[in-house]
């Protein structure tokens, strides 16, 4: 069967499955709409959390970035898994005991102030919308390949589908749909990885394949890759750093604490039956996440190897010298997958030296010896531009795997993007309708009115993020990292202090959240433009890119979090301590006994 037809069938079937489940479990009351009546088993909840969590950034974008970054890509791997340890121990059980639907509710009650709740809503919306911009970028990539259109058109189609999808079912629909999505996406991710690992190393498990020798050679895959990328002027794969060690440290930390501060993940832990389950749920979620996250580095290294094998066929397996005249393939003889991706505009070839062959190398290399060799070989600059976000989707095509595998990956990528976008839209809609409108502006709003407000806010969020996604501030995973930085600098410290410090008062928490959010956004917007609008960057004002100790905007959330903690403690010291009943409430939240089902009423 033809590839395109196979893709339509796989994507069509997977959609039919999700929609079927959503209809079957269609949400009734508001309480069910948001939290599925607090009755989801930890393993199921773990799978749904994993699907919710592993977005377009994890599925589509991450391995591609690791592929480019090498060792340094580990910051995504550690950052997006290590946060679960924090979440499981520092937040989940206590928030479950607290027994409310949303993060702003917790902040509002714990800090006995509607203003604190409003500040939390602002932080939540900023982080969630930034996150969805990243998703939209990923959705655009997936749909552009799937429909063979430009990535902009892909985003428009994606916006329409995400909207229909999120508005249709509530959380309950989403919880069971997400279990199905998890299964689709994990199969889609691991099956091609297994095939590719077998091809390259003969090892079935990609996790072990990455540490194995190349088929027919006694040199390990990683050692060979190190050598080949160095020959092409790139940094050594197993040691390449993103900027500096300090930046890698801060970046990883920012993703970790951002994980523990993201509202749509935290919300998941309100839906387990007990405090005990909240603790193990995070563990189950991480098990299901780790299946993808430990496969990703193998996918990354193997995709890099296969890409180099495609462009310069003899270099990896036959030790051909990269500078030899006919080492690179002729553009006319390029494989079909390149032609397919050229249509999306995400893969580009430009014959700079007019030899009709594809030279793929690092033309910005600082190694003078390498540059001289490249010039001697008649190379006039890198000629192949591969958008990092296409690596995973193109991976099975690059490895020349059967059509059904390619189709499965397309379905998986869409599942990942849709499930997270839907989860985030739920968080946004509940923050606006429940915390902002019902909690503050119109306490007497009817249940129907509340649901309607939620749906309208979803639509607005989709339009804004889709529009910004057309000119994204970075690759999908990079944009999502910014969202984590925002959550890390604003929400995480406030929630944590709300549980671990009895004396933290509303003034301290609010000042902390606002200053953390402000400092982070100030630095991020300096690089990426005010509200991510291109052309409004103000780098001169902060003294050039990454001017704060070489820390990139994606890593800046850690600094914002430190600012948040410090400001909160200082303000707390000079204002009066929280009332006695709040301190008693904190005591009560700390022990599991007496936990009850979540209750939306105030």
């Amino acid at each position: 069967m033809e590839l395109q037809t196979t893709i339509y069938i796989f994507v069509g079937l997977s959609f039919a499955l999700y929609i079927g489940i959503a209809i079957w479990a269609r949400a009734g009351s508001t309480s069910e709409f948001y939290a599925a009546g607090g009755s989801v088993h930890p393993v199921m909840n773990g799978m749904a959390t994993a699907a919710d969590w592993m977005s377009a950034a994890s599925f589509i974008s991450m391995a591609g970035l690791i592929s480019n970054m090498g060792y340094g890509g580990a910051l995504f791997l550690m950052g997006w898994t290590g946060g679960y340890v924090l979440l499981a121990m520092l937040l989940a059980p206590y928030l479950r005991k607290f027994g409310k639907f949303t993060v702003p509710q917790f902040i509002g009650d714990r800090f006995y102030s509607k203003s604190a709740s409003t500040v939390a809503v602002i932080c939540l919306l900023t982080a969630s919308i930034t996150y969805i911009i990243g998703q939209m970028t990923g959705v655009g990539v997936a749909f552009s390949r799937f429909l063979g259109v430009s990535s902009d058109t892909g985003i428009y189609v994606g916006m329409a589908i995400v909207f229909a999808y999120a508005v249709f079912g509530g959380m309950k629909g989403i919880t069971y749909t997400q279990v199905a999505q998890y299964i689709v996406l994990i199969l889609a991710y691991t099956i091609p990885a297994v095939f590719i690992s077998l091809q390259l190393t003969g090892n079935v498990l990609p996790q072990l394949g990455l540490g194995s020798s190349l088929v027919g050679h006694d040199v390990s895959l990683l050692a060979k890759l190190d050598q080949v990328v160095t020959d092409l002027g790139f940094g050594k794969y197993t040691t390449a750093l993103p900027g500096s060690t300090l930046n890698m440290f801060m970046y990883t930390l920012s993703l970790m604490i951002g994980t523990a501060g993201l509202p749509h993940v935290i919300m998941r832990f309100f839906t387990v039956p007990s405090v005990k389950d909240a603790r193990s749920s995070a563990g189950w979620a991480l098990v299901f996440i780790a299946i993808l996250y430990t496969t990703a580095p193998a996918v990354a290294a193997m995709a890099k190897t296969n890409l180099i094998r495609t462009v310069t066929p003899g270099v990896v397996m036959k030790d051909t010298n990269v500078f030899e005249k006919d080492a690179a393939i002729k553009y006319e003889e390029r494989p079909d997958w390149m032609k397919r991706w050229e249509k999306t505009g995400l893969l580009k070839f430009e014959d700079k030296n007019g030899d009709g062959r594809i030279q793929y190398y690092n033309d910005a290399s600082k190694n003078a010896d390498f540059q001289k060799k490249a010039a001697d070989a008649g190379w006039k600059g890198n000629e192949l531009n591969v958008n990092a976000d296409i690596i995973v989707l193109a991976n099975p095509e690059i490895a020349l795997l059967p059509n059904w595998v390619i189709a499965l990956v397309a379905a998986g990528g869409l599942a990942a993007a849709l499930s997270t976008a839907a989860g985030l839209l739920m968080a946004i809609s509940s923050a606006v309708s429940h915390d902002l409108v019902k909690g503050i502006f119109a306490p007497n709003i009817s249940e129907k009115g509340e649901l309607m407000t939620g749906k309208i806010s979803m639509a607005v969020a989709i339009v804004i993020s889709g529009w910004l996604g057309l000119n994204p501030p970075g690759f999908a995973a990079g944009t999502v990292a910014l969202a984590f930085g925002i959550a890390a600098s604003s929400l995480f410290p406030a929630i944590m202090m709300g549980i671990f410090s009895k004396k933290m008062n509303k003034e301290g928490a609010m000042a902390g959240m606002l200053s953390g959010l402000f400092v982070t956004l100030f630095y991020v917007f300096a690089h990426k433009g005010l509200f991510f609008i291109k052309g409004t960057e103000y780098l001169d004002l902060i003294g050039g890119p990454n001017s704060f100790f070489g820390i990139t905007p994606e890593a800046f959330g850690s600094v914002g979090a430190i600012v948040n903690f410090v400001v909160a403690f200082l303000v707390d010291k000079v204002t009066k301590e929280p009332p006695a009943h709040i301190q008693a409430m904190v005591e009560a939240v700390r022990i599991p006994r007496g936990s009850k089902a979540v209750d939306g009423a105030h």
Partner: protein, 86 residues
């Protein structure tokens, strides 16, 4: 034992457990995976340089173990201080 003492001791036990786990959490990721990775890369684990392995594989496995260990120990502490659910 008075209620107040007991809840104080419970919280102390909880914080003790958290501290121990956070130390391991930090050592495997920020330690072995980042700060000491160049040093550990001199050791090979199969075809993996060890620092690279911790950063891209090992730390994740250890995170999982840490959460389940935490959940188990925490349940024990709950029972010991008689604050468990049901």
């Amino acid at each position: 034992m008075k209620d107040e003492d007991s809840s104080h001791a419970y919280w102390k036990a909880t914080l003790g457990l958290l501290t121990r786990i956070l130390i391991i959490w930090f050592v495997v990721s920020f330690g072995a995976g980042i700060l000491f990775a160049p040093l550990l890369n001199n050791i090979q684990l199969g075809g993996y340089p060890l620092g690279f392995w911790f950063a891209q594989q090992g730390s994740i496995y250890i995170f999982i173990v840490l959460i389940f260990y935490y959940a188990k120990k925490m349940n024990d502490i709950d029972r010991r201080f008689d604050v468990h659910e049901d």
